[in-house]
């Protein structure tokens, strides 16, 4: 069924999730539903048998064109906890390196009769491309694409904030570091704005802040001390060492001196502020060990919440696909 401008690709005719590609344009109600469903799945992780049978008989295929350990593992665990059969393909080390195109890889995976693909790719828009070309019954979940989006990371960050701060209405949230290259930052800005956070700040060196970032409803700070004043939540981003070579920053040491989160700088935020980080953390580059391991750090909680959020997204997308099939069938019968 063709999509139109009013109905984004990732929603079905009833406005339910069908693919999960980006947080851009998703309504607040849907984001809240994801968080509520994830909350319920958290309880499953605390049981002796950490499984529910929702996706029994379904096959989830994790297709990772780009390396990842944490995201891949939590998607695997999420699918397994929903009782799905799970295949993980590290395509970066196989077919594409032998010259196969994304399109051919996709067709081969389709032939394996998977019901859902979780896709990570270094190119922005890869998950959208696949969702547009895959057979209509297959759900696509974006596990991170280039600089564009990492929607499940965005939602697990929102779940972390909601569980520790209750709601978004009166919060000040600072996102610190390499905003320019960060798909996590972009997803977080979109989610925070949709969920009603009134004060979103991005903090970093000018060279690592994208031009026009204000369109996301954020305030820009190049001075860390100024930006951290009175915030409730600090989201530190990973400074990727490979990008240090690009001339955007003088050195890791210099970055830490100006933008690293130390115990002393933490004192500028509210006394009950929480510290988050999507991981893996670079100790002594973007964050001091005492802060990363300190009482206000919720970095490991984020990992736990990540499984529940991914369970919520996988089951909701599968459910949205089923609903769309039903609608299509009813429409065919009427014709």
């Amino acid at each position: 069924m063709p999509t139109d401008a009013k109905r984004p690709l990732q929603l079905n005719d009833q406005g339910q999730l069908r693919h999960f590609l980006s947080l851009d344009g998703l309504p607040r109600e849907l984001l809240t539903e994801i968080l509520d469903t994830a909350d319920s799945f958290l309880e499953v992780g605390a049981r002796a048998v950490k499984k529910v049978p929702l996706l029994r008989g379904k096959t989830v295929c994790n297709v990772f064109f780009e390396n990842s350990t944490r995201t891949r593992t939590t998607f695997e665990l999420a699918a397994q906890r929903l009782s799905a059969d799970v295949i993980t393909l590290n395509v970066s080390t196989s077919s594409t390196s032998k010259g196969e195109t994304l399109f051919d890889t996709l067709r081969n995976l389709e032939a394996m009769a998977a019901d859902m693909f979780v896709v990570r790719h270094a190119d922005s828009g890869a998950a959208h491309f696949i969702a547009e070309h895959v057979c209509p019954d297959v759900a696509i979940i974006n596990g991170g694409d280039g600089r564009h989006a990492h929607p499940t990371q965005g939602m697990l960050d929102m779940l972390t904030i909601r569980r520790h701060k209750g709601s978004f209405e009166n919060l000040s949230v600072a996102i610190v570091g390499d905003i320019l290259h960060s798909r996590v930052a972009r997803s977080n800005m979109l989610a925070l704005r949709t969920l009603g956070c009134p004060d979103i700040r991005v903090i970093g060196p000018k060279t690592l802040i994208p031009v026009g970032v204000e369109q996301y409803g954020v305030k820009v700070y190049t001075d860390l001390a100024e930006g951290l004043k009175g915030v409730d939540v600090i989201i530190m981003l990973r400074l990727q060492r490979e990008r240090m070579q690009g001339g955007l920053l003088p050195s890791e040491g210099e970055f830490y001196k100006l933008y690293g989160l130390s115990t002393q700088r933490m004192a500028l935020a509210k006394p009950d502020a929480i510290v988050m980080h999507p991981g893996p953390i670079n100790r002594g580059v973007e964050i001091e060990s005492a802060v990363a391991d300190g009482a206000q750090s919720v970095i490991l909680n984020q990992v736990t919440y990540g499984i529940a959020v991914r369970m919520a997204v996988l089951s909701m997308a599968m459910s949205g696909q089923a609903a769309q099939r039903q609608l299509n069938q009813e429409a065919e019968e009427l014709n």
């Binding site: 339910q16 539903e33 509520d36 469903t37 909350d39 319920s40 958290l42 309880e43 499953v44 049981r47 002796a48 048998v49 499984k51 529910v52 049978p53 929702l54 089951s315 909701m316 599968m318 459910s319 949205g320 089923a322 609903a323 039903q326």
Partner: protein, 170 residues
Amino acid sequence: MNLPNPAELLPRMASDLQAHLKARAITEPRFVGIRTGGVWVAQALLEQLGESAPLGILDVSFYRDDFTQNGLHPQVRPSELPFEIEGQHLVLIDDVLMSGRTVRAALNELFDYGRPASVTLVCLLDLNARELPVRPDVVGATLSLEARERVKLLGPAPLTLERQDLASPA
């Protein structure tokens, strides 16, 4: 046919349940209500029994066999079982028994928490429309409805039963 008043059914259900447990020498049962109506009936039943035991709450949404047809209920809330399941005698309580699929889902979920010593099933109403071999040990009333009819429990206080006609517009 008039629908019964739950308040009139509950005293006899409580006495039938006591007799059932006594006959099986069960002295310390654990009570579990299926959300939402089953929890209301369980609370009313515990009051009748003069019991102040903690009540377990099951939400069977993740265990339903119609997920691929009907999808996930948007307001799933976590189950709450404030006691061990392993080796315990459970009293599972629901409001209306129709196909038996909700009870099947509840049993599947309970067994994911542990292996109970026994499960006694209590239902306020049995609609005599079972699709699975699931039969209550204690029941308030048995009704036979037309295929297009359903019964809904309204609550939590007072508990009342409402007849619904699927053919009529909402």
